[in-house]
């Protein structure tokens, strides 16, 4: 039962290295779950044509109805949902001792961080409108990146 004594699945050579703090990965998983809920909600709202999520904010409708709201016909939020689900899955795996997954976790979070910067730029300088759900998603991504940077893997 003790994970410290268990051989790391899929990465036998990493046995001698101390495992990163579990708390960090559970925190990452919870943040990723929030992001998954946000992105899934936006995806469903987009597919259902429901912009009630915007309330009466026309700026929000401008963002969610813009050309950037879809990529080849697929709602951009759907890519976000996949990304958050990947972060959740990888964080759970690392939390359970699959330390080799951490590098993939870092790569996915960095990609999301870059994408979030781009979407913030679009909202601020191209669309001149902000969508609260998109801002929330960006904040969660920054939090994920911040947590990974603040707690690097122990060597």
């Amino acid at each position: 039962m003790n994970a410290k004594n268990r051989k790391e699945p899929g990465n036998g050579s990493a046995l001698s290295r101390p495992r990163p703090s579990r708390f960090l990965y559970w925190a990452l998983a919870i943040v990723a779950l929030l992001g998954l809920a946000d992105a899934t909600f936006l995806t469903v709202a987009h597919l259902a044509g429901d912009d009630a999520v915007c309330g009466s904010g026309i700026g929000c409708s401008t963002v969610l109805g813009s050309a950037y709201a879809t990529i080849r016909g697929i709602p951009t939020a759907a890519f976000g949902a996949v990304a958050y689900f990947s972060v959740f899955s990888l964080a759970v795996l690392v939390g359970f001792g699959y330390a080799g997954m951490r590098r993939f976790l870092v790569i996915v979070v960095m990609l999301m961080f870059t994408a979030s910067l781009y979407f913030l730029y679009l909202q601020a300088f191209v669309l001149h409108a902000f969508c609260p759900f998109c801002l929330f998603s960006a904040a969660l991504t920054f939090l994920l990146a911040g947590l990974l940077l603040a707690f690097p893997a122990p060597r």
Binding site: M1, V44, A48, G49, S56, I58
Partner: protein, 229 residues
């Protein structure tokens, strides 16, 4: 067992996400009017533009002879519809007599005041002022859609466009007007409309119709098609 636990957690989260998303999607796709009430005595509005029989009760703006007919299935409480309406108005100015706009009611269940707003527009239509009310409802959407007692807003709009206030108050609550709204919603469902705004140009659905460029491309394509011998 513990070895499989992370995979079980991941699979559970995936299943719950897909399940909840599907349930929410299905609930959002249900329009306010239900098919069960479509057996009302009011005849269903003929909304197929391909069908040359023009229904006098259609809400249309622009000449009948216009080469391009744009049909809009809208919900007065839907913010994207308000954005799309502003774009459509601009396009109609740009295309002039080449374009005709037909509006169909499609109030969605998720919008609390959508049916009341649709009935207000239809009641105004009975006095020959559908489009004036249509424009007012979209223009002031952010105002009335936040309120709880929307009737007062609609009554004020009715007065400002010169309607007979007493008649408007009766019509906007009448079963006939409600039946018409339901009938249009049902006709939209039968035609495959699932959300708002759904736009058809010469009978062909325009996807992402609330984007100006998409609409313009579809309009130009329809015009070019009409010009072909």
């Amino acid at each position: 067992m513990r070895r499989y636990l992370p995979f079980v957690i991941i699979a559970l989260v995936a299943l719950i996400t897909v399940g909840v998303a599907t349930a929410v999607y299905r609930s959002k796709m249900r329009p306010a009017p239900t098919a069960s009430t479509s057996s009302s005595p009011v005849p269903t509005v003929a909304n197929e533009v391909a069908n040359e029989k023009e229904d006098e009760s259609l809400h249309a703006r622009g000449p009948r002879t216009a080469p391009v007919s744009m049909e809009v299935y809208g919900d007065f409480q839907c913010p994207s519809c308000a954005v799309a309406t502003a774009m459509i108005d601009d396009l109609q100015k740009e295309y002039g007599d080449k374009m005709r706009v037909i509006f169909h009611e499609f109030p969605l269940a998720m919008h609390k005041h959508a049916v009341a707003a649709a009935m207000a527009a239809e009641a105004a239509g009975l006095q020959g002022h559908f489009w004036e009310m249509h424009d007012m409802l979209y223009k002031y959407q952010s105002v009335w859609s936040r309120g709880s007692a929307v009737d007062a807003f609609f009554a004020a709009y009715a007065e400002s466009i010169g309607l007979d206030a007493g008649q408007f108050a009766i019509d906007s609550k009448s079963p006939e007007v409600q039946a018409r709204v339901i009938s249009e919603g049902d006709a939209g469902v039968a035609r495959g409309v699932k959300n708002t705004p759904t736009i058809f140009i010469n009978g062909r659905e325009v996807h992402n119709g609330f984007q100006r460029e998409t609409l313009k491309e579809a309009l130009d394509a329809a015009l070019a098609e009409k010009k072909k011998p």
